[in-house]
């Protein structure tokens, strides 16, 4: 028998060892695999109404009445003149604490030694609240790590749309942030009259439960940000360029496509759009929460992607790409759409309607030329337009659970100060800064930002979002306010119903992950990387990987709100 060579590529003993390990592993797999199921990330449903522990609402009389009275919150009242501000809080608390608050910041962070901050500290009683700015573009994602590592100072501001980055936001909230219930329960009007005048609906949206199944574990875990309604986002059109080109304001999706074709000239660097994706679902009647809507005819929960209108929407987006009606670099996601529109290279931008006002202000300051206005509600194929609008808070200010009760009360003192509405000196200082340094009263009697004011006060988020104001109004340039008020009035009849009103839903983790991939796939189709014919396969994959479970989850949530 030949002696096994040392240089043989495989030794018999090694093979036996490997086989033995493999067998042991294979045998062991079912045993360990059967240990326990994954229960985390299974989603949570939280009602936001009907609590008995919220601050008792007590009206705080407004110092001045608005010039234009709307129907808040979806159609806010407005001021077309600037009233002489009055002091809302005469009995100032004295605070000596020093705190740090993490906030998002889009653009360069303002200088921390500006007199604005010293003036605000002095005005609200001496408490120092230093800001720790994080890049607004990536804030939601990085906030997850800051919160887990407890590296956000004494508080953190999170906008509602940022919570999707947390694998389990409900669990995060109840474990990492201060439970304010005992401090804010009942009648708080004596110490914090403005916090008591915040709508109960806003406080309700700051409630989470330690155990979502048990209503008795619910509590207030945040200070709500501004409570408002109406249409937040829209498509801004360069109406001056449309007029010059003889293009009428479109009233349907088909007319919009014609306008885009008439304007675009790829070879000469002119495109109708710089970006068009997350907004346009409503043009095709696609709404709901996370794409889920109750279909009364089928008596079941249906996702937008299962509806024929979804294919219509993607066909529309694909047409924009194929016919070069959208900027060729749009897939990179790095275009500055606002700058392109200001330069006259694109006609329409997908924006927050705040930019309508910003554009107008730039024109008034002589920085740019032109005029923008939002497109009216649109619909395709002769359907009635729908507009997504919802009354709610924009986000929350969460406080660190390691703070003492006295420290929390001191921060609530300044939140109470920051809740002062339009027409108060508190509001004026917070929103416009120090007169003569950050703003001047213009010829029309309204505050006009100085360059320093634009840089330090107007742009960044900071204390303006610290707390919900008693009431939110349309304010600013009188012409702009009048236009916005009129626009808000014109869209009220098209408001889309929210099937999950009064309930906050956090989808199961697998459904969220599948939804994220679904979005990537939509972008693939819209930018010519995949074909429209792949939609059925895309739907099937989504449903098989968390979609069907999500359907049941949303059905249960819907029935909990509306009954069987």
């Amino acid at each position: 028998m030949a002696t096994p060579s040392d240089r043989a590529p495989f030794k018999r003993r090694s093979l036996f060892k490997a086989a033995g390990l493999g067998a042991a592993g294979t045998a062991g797999l079912p045993i360990v695999a059967a240990c326990s199921d994954i229960e985390s990330g299974s989603g949570s449903t939280q009602t936001t109404e009907g609590f008995d522990f919220l601050p008792t609402y007590k009206e705080w009389p407004l110092p001045v009445e608005p010039d234009l009275v709307g129907e808040p919150p979806n159609h806010p009242s407005a001021f077309t003149s600037y009233p002489e501000p009055v002091q809302a809080i005469t009995d100032l608390p004295s605070g000596s604490g020093s705190y740090e608050l993490t906030v998002p910041c889009w653009g360069p962070a303002p200088a921390k030694d500006d007199p604005y901050f010293a003036a605000v500290y002095e005005a609200w009683g001496g408490t120092k609240l230093e800001l720790r700015q994080g890049d607004g573009m990536t804030y939601g994602d990085t906030a997850v790590q800051w919160v887990k590592a407890d590296e956000y100072g004494d508080g953190i501001q999170l906008f509602s749309y940022m919570t999707g980055s947390f694998s389990n936001f409900q669990e995060t909230v109840v474990n990492k942030f201060y439970d304010l219930t005992d401090i804010l329960r009942g009648d708080i009007a004596e110490r914090w009259p403005l916090l008591a005048a915040i709508p109960s609906a806003a406080w309700g949206q700051a409630v989470w439960s330690v155990d979502p199944e048990d209503p008795d574990t619910a509590g207030i875990y945040a200070i709500p940000m501004n409570y408002s309604g109406g249409q937040g986002n829209g498509i801004l059109a360069r109406v001056d360029l449309m007029d010059a080109a003889g293009i009428a304001m479109p009233t349907t999706v088909e007319e919009l496509l014609d306008a885009a074709r008439a304007w675009s000239d790829d070879a000469n660097g002119k495109w109708a759009f710089a970006q068009l994706d997350w907004f346009i679902g409503q043009w095709f009647g696609l709404g709901g929460t996370d794409g889920w809507n109750w279909d009364p005819e089928q008596q079941k929960m249906v996702n937008n992607i299962e509806r024929p209108e979804f294919t219509e929407m993607l066909t529309f987006r694909r047409t924009l790409w194929d016919e070069q009606l959208i900027h060729p670099d749009v897939p990179t996601g790095t275009l500055d759409a606002a700058a392109l529109q200001e330069a006259g290279q694109v006609l329409f931008t997908q924006d927050n309607l705040v930019r309508w006002n910003d554009f107008n202000l730039k024109v008034k300051r002589g920085e740019i030329e032109g005029e923008v206005a939002p497109l009216p509600p649109l619909a395709a194929n002769g359907r009635t337009p729908t507009v997504a609008m919802g009354a709610g808070i924009g986000g929350w200010t969460f406080l660190n659970k390691d703070l003492s009760r006295e420290q929390v009360e001191e921060i609530l003192d300044i939140a109470n100060w920051a809740a002062a509405p339009y027409g108060t000196t508190e509001y004026q200082l917070l929103q416009y800064g120090v007169e003569g340094e950050h703003f001047e009263i213009g010829a029309d009697g309204t505050p006009v930002f100085t360059p320093l004011g634009s840089e330090i006060v107007q742009g960044p988020v900071h204390y303006k979002a610290l707390c919900c104001q008693v009431e939110t109004f349309l304010t600013g340039d009188p012409d702009m306010v009048a236009k916005r008020f009129e626009y808000d009035a014109s869209i009220q009849d098209y408001a889309m119903e929210n099937p999950f009103e009064g309930v906050r839903i956090e989808a199961p983790a697998e459904a969220k992950a599948a939804g994220s991939t679904l979005w990537d796939q939509q972008q693939d189709i819209a930018f010519g990387r995949a074909e429209l014919s792949s939609i059925p396969e895309m739907v099937e994959t989504f449903m098989a990987n968390g979609g069907e479970d999500a359907r049941q989850y949303y059905t249960d949530a819907y029935k909990a709100v509306h009954g069987e």
Binding site: R7, P9, L29, I31, V32, A33, A34, C35, S36, D37, I38, E39, S40, G41, D141, V144, K148, G164, S165, F166, S167, N168, E171, T172, N175, K176, D266, A267, G269, H327, P328, D329, P331, T332, G333, T334, A507, A509, E510, K512, A513, S516, T517, D520, Q523, D524, F527, R529, A530, T541, A544, N545
Partner: protein, 327 residues
């Protein structure tokens, strides 16, 4: 057979031979003796402990339904449930295949390119030309991926320099930086520009260790340039080539992150998703949580370890040193 015998008288004074017993030093004695070396090693040990071994121990959460908000011992053990979810995820396999594709491409195209650059560099005699050549191929390594990708978009993008030249000449818009079909080529170009020069440095160091007299002897024996390269240069740097190859095979599933993440939106996830971006989007900024991401990372690590052991074993069998000297 004669036996040599000593005529010298026996040494009466010499004591009988005693076996030499080497006393084992105590820990304290060893510490006293080796403390400078231990002190030197201390920062490295501390660094490895804090940033490598301690995090490695946390791989255990791949087998737990982990939540950072409850005490560690209260996290239920779920066995391989996260791995099961990982392998059943329809987007995992494409990410793995993309990773392997880019790794293979890197291994086959970039590795030889660095060697070729080093050989070319080594053959340049003029110091000035050599310095200029070195700077051109070497400096891009210090550019961040953000800069590299931006330069490519500005030059080769749909609205970039080349595209606009072509359009001015009546041609069609260039579509390289957002086309999934050309992404592999784009990635290769970016690697070649950014990293080929860096890879060259190590080979250059290996080349400098070859005895020049070997070349002189070979030249006087009539060996031309190619023969000298084949019979002297390449064998001279073979141990380094093998070592780097093994290390590269070990990290085959780590093809990078920023390069793919930065271009993911422009090119689409199907062409760009690799394991690292998959973990990032599913676990770090996605909703799947820490355990899922750790399971994916552990899978990557185990595959890497197996590959590196196989490659090292093959190197030993081929008579090379590998990553360590076989005793």
């Amino acid at each position: 057979m004669a036996t040599l015998q000593s005529t010298a008288p026996p040494d009466a004074d010499r004591s009988p031979a005693r076996p030499v017993v080497r006393r084992k030093r105590t820990v304290l004695q060893r510490l006293r003796h080796d403390w400078p070396l231990l002190l030197l090693a201390l920062p490295v040990v501390a660094h490895l402990s804090v940033f490598h071994y301690w995090p490695t121990a946390w791989n255990i959460i791949a087998f737990l339904d982990y939540s950072p908000y409850r005490p560690f011992w209260e996290n239920p053990f779920v066995g391989f449930a996260w791995f099961e979810r990982l392998f059943n995820d329809p987007y995992f396999t494409p990410a793995l295949l993309n990773t392997l594709k880019f790794a293979a491409l890197n291994l086959l195209c970039m590795f030889p390119l660095s060697i070729a650059l080093a050989l070319a560099m080594n053959s340049i005699i003029s110091v000035r030309v050599r310095s200029a050549f070195q700077s051109i191929v070497y400096l891009p390594h210090f550019f961040s991926w953000v800069l590299v990708v931006t330069v490519f978009v500005q030059v080769l993008g749909a609205d970039g320099l080349v595209s606009n030249w072509i359009m001015d000449g009546g041609g069609e818009r260039l579509d390289i930086t957002s086309n999934p079909e050309t992404f592999t080529f784009l990635v290769w170009m970016q690697w070649a520009w950014k990293d080929a020069g860096w890879g060259m440095i190590i080979f250059l160091a290996a080349l400098s260790s070859i005895n020049p007299s070997l070349y002189e002897a070979a030249a006087s024996d009539g060996a031309n340039r190619w023969r000298r390269m084949w019979h002297i240069t390449l064998p001279g740097i073979r141990p380094v080539i093998i070592l780097l190859l093994i290390l590269q095979i070990g990290g085959i599933l780590s093809v990078g992150f920023e390069q793919y993440q930065l271009q993911r939106q422009a090119v689409g996830y199907q062409a760009t998703e690799v394991l690292d971006t998959y973990v990032y989007y599913q676990s770090i900024v996605g909703s799947q949580g820490e355990s899922f991401g750790t399971a994916a990372g552990l899978f990557k690590g185990v595959i890497g370890l197996i590959l590196i052991l196989i490659a090292n074993n093959i190197a030993h069998r081929l008579g090379e040193q590998g990553i360590y000297q076989k005793s």
